[in-house]
């Protein structure tokens, strides 16, 4: 396990692309963990399909980050040769799958955001980001519809499914605030029209989420205390375990190809 981590020059645009690429890769990997374990065949395919969409988005974003950075890094190096503290994804997305309800709540919170986010990003002044957004927006639209249906079904289902869905909402709620946070690095991109300010999406996100949660006879926690840190590399203990699996091949056999 002696492979050195790569160094990354995190200029604002590189950091921006890496953050979204890491979001997509980490959530995509979590969904792939369900492959062969989902409660029904259709669901197994749905989760794998969504994981694949996210992996595709990650690849495009990593490739763009590598091009902007121009230091010889590429999508594989970004994915396989950065350690936990170099990852920039949202804390929400690295949380373990838990049971099916927990996976769906995590998916719903994020997909409802990603759908709005990528649609707004289609107006980015950066043509590559606008093009990636145009694809991701359509894919996210399917993801939010799929998870919305499950939230209603689980919440308004049996006592057991309701209890589990509510438990997942209570546990994951504190990770949703990070989706709307902006730091100085990103503020400059927003001012330049390259990125959009996610805070402007919050009321619409809350409206979608509240509507579905109510329909599902579930409720959102009253607390508005939010946990952050993923965007700057301070992660929960779960990401290291995820990366040890995701990176095991390249860490064990550096440079292996087939």
């Amino acid at each position: 396990m002696a492979t050195a981590n790569i160094e990354v020059s995190e200029t604002p645009l590189v950091l921006y692309a890496l953050r979204r690429a890491d979001d997509a890769l980490i959530l995509g990997h979590r969904l792939s963990e369900w492959c062969g374990h989902a409660p029904a065949m259709e669901e197994d395919m749905a989760l794998a399909n969504m994981g694949l969409d996210l992996l595709g988005q990650a690849r495009e974003l990593y490739t763009y980050a590598a091009k902007v950075e121009g230091r010889g890094n590429d999508e594989d190096k970004f994915a396989y040769l950065r350690d936990v503290r170099q990852y920039r994804n949202l804390l929400l997305l690295e949380q373990p799958n838990g049971d099916f309800a927990r996976t769906m709540v995590r998916q719903f919170f994020y997909a409802a955001f990603a759908d709005l986010y990528w649609r707004a990003m289609m107006a980015s002044s950066d043509p590559t980001l606008a093009a990636i957004a145009a694809k991701s927006e359509k894919e996210s639209a399917y993801h939010v519809r799929h998870s919305s249906e499950w939230i209603v079904r689980l919440g308004d289902g049996t006592e057991e499914s309701h209890r589990r869905a509510q438990g997942a909402i209570d546990d994951l709620w504190a990770y949703t605030g990070e989706m709307f946070a902006v730091d100085d690095s990103e503020r400059g991109l927003i001012d330049a029209g390259i990125a959009i300010d996610p805070a402007t999406l919050k009321s619409r996100w809350l409206k979608t989420v509240t509507g579905i949660i109510n329909e599902a006879t579930l409720s959102l926690p009253k607390s508005d205390w939010m946990q952050q840190g993923g965007r700057s590399g301070s992660h929960s203990e779960h990401l290291g375990h995820l990366l040890s699996e995701l990176q095991s091949m390249q860490r064990t056999f550096p440079g292996a190809t087939w």
Partner: protein, 167 residues
């Protein structure tokens, strides 16, 4: 092997027709020209560059398609072609040719309904069964055997079928 010098225009034409015959490995009745995946063929100083656009971000067929294009051009005597992926403008099912839609249906996959707007994505769909033509059909799963397909069932002839999603 004898190489004949071709004008750029001839070279481009030959390269296009070779690339246009490459089929989608998942839906082998459709060529990449039918799908609208083949965007452009350019010739710079005698070197050919083919531009393709992905259907879905994560479509694993894209790598295979790029390789098949290189092989098809090499077989035509066009050496070391480059295949470039373009993201903009983003592919939509509206780019699928009429011929492509017909071939899909004959193959047993319901073609995407025209119009790739969000309304078409989420509107009230009337997907016709590719086997019997009935529109009395139901969605089984929005996610099918590949990224681009959903699983449906015909309530008239009871056959399950794939539907190429609007995108």
């Amino acid at each position: 092997m004898v190489t004949v010098a071709l004008s750029d225009a001839d070279l481009r034409r030959r390269a296009w027709s070779a690339a246009a015959q490459v089929v989608d490995p998942e839906i082998p009745v459709l060529t990449i020209a039918d799908l609208g995946v083949l965007r452009d063929v350019a010739v710079h100083d005698g070197h050919v560059e083919v531009a393709i656009t992905p259907t879905y971000s994560g479509c694993p067929a894209m790598n295979m398609i790029a390789l098949e294009i290189e092989l098809a051009l090499e077989r035509e005597g066009i050496h070391k072609p480059k295949v470039r992926t373009v993201l903009s403008p983003a592919w939509t099912t509206d780019w699928m040719s009429e011929d492509g839609r017909r071939k899909l249906k004959e193959y047993g996959i319901a073609p995407p309904l025209p119009g790739s707007s969000r309304r078409a994505l989420f509107g009230e769909l009337a997907v016709a069964c590719p086997q019997c033509g009935s529109v009395d059909t139901e969605l089984l799963s929005e996610f099918g055997s590949t990224s681009c397909k959903a699983l449906w069932r015909c309530k008239s002839c009871r056959e399950p079928f794939d539907y190429f999603k609007c995108h």
